[in-house]
């Protein structure tokens, strides 16, 4: 049914003119809380409610009120001549008088003493049973109230514990997030440190290389300075050395500065040095005296400054031999170069 059909059905519903199925359908619609239909129904019910006012009045039997009160209340007998003025307050509910209306004393009815005794016993028994039921139900009610109170307390305590548990779980979750975050930061820091360590090691290696290069350059520079000093000196004596059997194309010369007592030795076309070997220059006096060792560069050239030159007046010859690395006090290897003064 559409809502318009429901609204049209409300008027018929108010006067009881709907078929059962239509009535049930409309009642189901009313249960949905439709405000318009509820309002309309309330108005039509009020309209239908005043229909009886249009009827002609009629006398109501006086006995009806007494019957109504008797049917409703225990111990109040419908009596046409004795209006009741009940003062006690009773709760609405099913009464003995309603259950056993035929047993209630009727003024117009004559009954025997035996019937009265039976009636009294029956009423007394019923009253005792009623009291017993009342006491039992009261005890059960108290027990139930105690159980419900305990249940409520336990429920409240459980709710509190659950709330605390939830809070602690939230706190643990927060700490775990913080821990993970810091672990993540620590990992980043460790990675950074490792990178910086690597960079530092590279820098140190580079620095060592640079220092070595600087030392080499300084040495080369000092050697050149010495060489320039020797070359500029007016008192320079040149001594040539020629290659022998093992180095026929090789040669060398020794520039000797008589003032500074230093000499510059330069060799060329020297054979490549075997591993662990070096060339050693000898000044031949009475016996060979070492003047220093040298190695060759990739161009097969060798050079060095001779700082402690023996007295040339006593030197008869210079020679170069192949010796173990570090040199020897006396020549032990083959002679590669030789030159006389």
């Amino acid at each position: 049914m559409s809502h318009e059909q429901f609204e049209e059905a409300v008027a018929l519903y108010a006067v009881g003119a709907l078929e059962r199925q239509e009535r049930q359908t409309l009642e189901a619609h009313l249960l949905t809380g439709c405000a318009a239909c509820h309002s309309s129904l309330k108005e039509y019910r009020a309209v239908a409610g005043i229909f009886p006012y249009g009827l002609s009045p009629s006398k109501v039997p006086r006995s009806l009120k007494l019957k109504v009160l008797a049917a409703r209340l225990p111990g109040v007998a419908p009596s046409e001549g004795s209006p009741t003025t009940p003062e006690t307050r009773l709760s609405p509910g099913l009464r003995i008088g309603a259950l056993l209306p035929s047993l209630l004393p009727m003024p117009a009815r004559v009954f025997s003493p035996a019937f009265a005794i039976v009636l009294a016993l029956l009423l007394a028994g019923t009253a005792s049973y009623t009291v017993y039921l009342h006491l039992q139900s009261h005890a059960e009610l108290e027990q139930r109230q105690r159980v419900e109170a305990a249940l409520q307390q336990e429920t409240a305590r459980l709710a509190t514990l659950q709330e605390q548990l939830t809070q602690q779980e939230q706190a643990i979750g927060t700490l775990r997030e913080e821990f993970n975050r810091r672990i993540g930061n620590l990992g980043e820091v460790q990675t950074t440190i490792a990178q910086q360590d690597t960079e530092l090691a590279l820098l140190r290696a580079e620095l060592a290389q640079r220092r070595e290069e600087t030392g080499n350059l300084r040495r080369a520079l000092a050697q050149r300075d010495d060489m320039l000093t020797i070359l500029r000196s007016p008192a320079v004596k040149v001594i040539s050395l020629a290659g022998l059997e093992h180095a026929k194309s090789a040669g060398a010369f020794l520039l000797f500065d008589l003032e500074s007592k230093k000499a510059f030795f330069y060799a060329f076309n020297m054979p490549p040095l075997p591993p662990g070997k070096t060339y050693q220059l000898w000044a031949i006096l009475d016996k060979p005296v070492s003047a220093g060792t040298f190695v060759t560069d990739p161009g097969q050239k060798g050079r060095f400054i001779v700082r402690n030159v023996p007295d040339l007046s006593r030197v008869t010859k210079f020679a170069v031999s192949l010796e173990p690395m570090g040199g020897r006090p006396q020549p032990t290897g083959d002679i590669y170069l030789a030159g006389e003064l």
Binding site: G16, A17, R45, G49, G54, S56, S58, R62, L69, E80
Partner: protein
């Protein structure tokens, strides 16, 4: 023997019903006094028999005593609740009797219920009641006969629109329309009364 006519007034206060719900017997007596006249004439109109009407009314008041706590003010006035309850029980009795095959003691065709009389209060009512009775009866009598007939068959005999259509040999749609139009007109014509009863 038949001298209690009730000091009825058109409206019953919800406060009185609340006292009855608390078990106040004096309030219950007042409720009876204020409503029994109207409810009796309603049940009598449905049943047409005074003894049966008294029985039904006795059942109604016992039910009121037991069910008054269920009264919902949002669904209507106290008097509207009592009228609805009484009409329902009287119609049930009327239908049960018809099902047993007993002859109806009266029929709408035989005894129209509307009596438009403006001859002052009767011996069993006060002036306010008399004025209300006159207004309601007049509004009903001013409806077209078909609408009036359909409403009375539904309200006082408890017939559905299908049953009314069958009884009057009219299409169902016609009967529905008559009831709707009749109720709509009565709602407008009697607004000052139903809004305060």
């Amino acid at each position: 023997m038949e001298s209690s006519y009730g000091q009825a007034s058109p409206a019953i206060s919800p406060e009185l019903l609340a006292l009855v719900a608390k078990g106040d017997q004096k309030a219950f007596g007042q409720l009876y006094d204020q409503s029994s006249s109207l409810l009796f004439r309603l049940a009598l109109r449905v049943l047409g028999d005074r003894d049966e009407t008294a029985e039904v009314l006795q059942e109604v008041y016992v039910e009121v005593w037991h069910k008054v706590v269920r009264y919902d003010p949002g669904r209507g006035s106290p008097m509207a609740w009592l009228v609805t309850l009484t009409r329902s029980r009287a119609v049930d009795r009327f239908r049960a009797r018809a099902a047993r095959g007993r002859h109806l003691t009266r029929s709408i065709d035989e005894s129209p219920a509307i009596h438009v009389q403006d001859d002052g209060p009767g011996p069993f009512e006060n002036r306010a009641e008399a004025e209300l009775r006159t207004s309601v009866a007049k509004a009903l009598s001013e409806l077209p006969e078909g609408q009036q007939q359909a409403l009375e068959l539904a309200y006082y005999e408890g017939l559905s629109h299908t049953e009314i259509a069958h009884r009057l040999q009219q299409p169902v749609g016609t009967i529905k329309t008559r009831i709707r139009l009749g109720m709509s007109k009565l709602k407008d014509a009697l607004r000052p009364h139903w809004e305060h009863v």
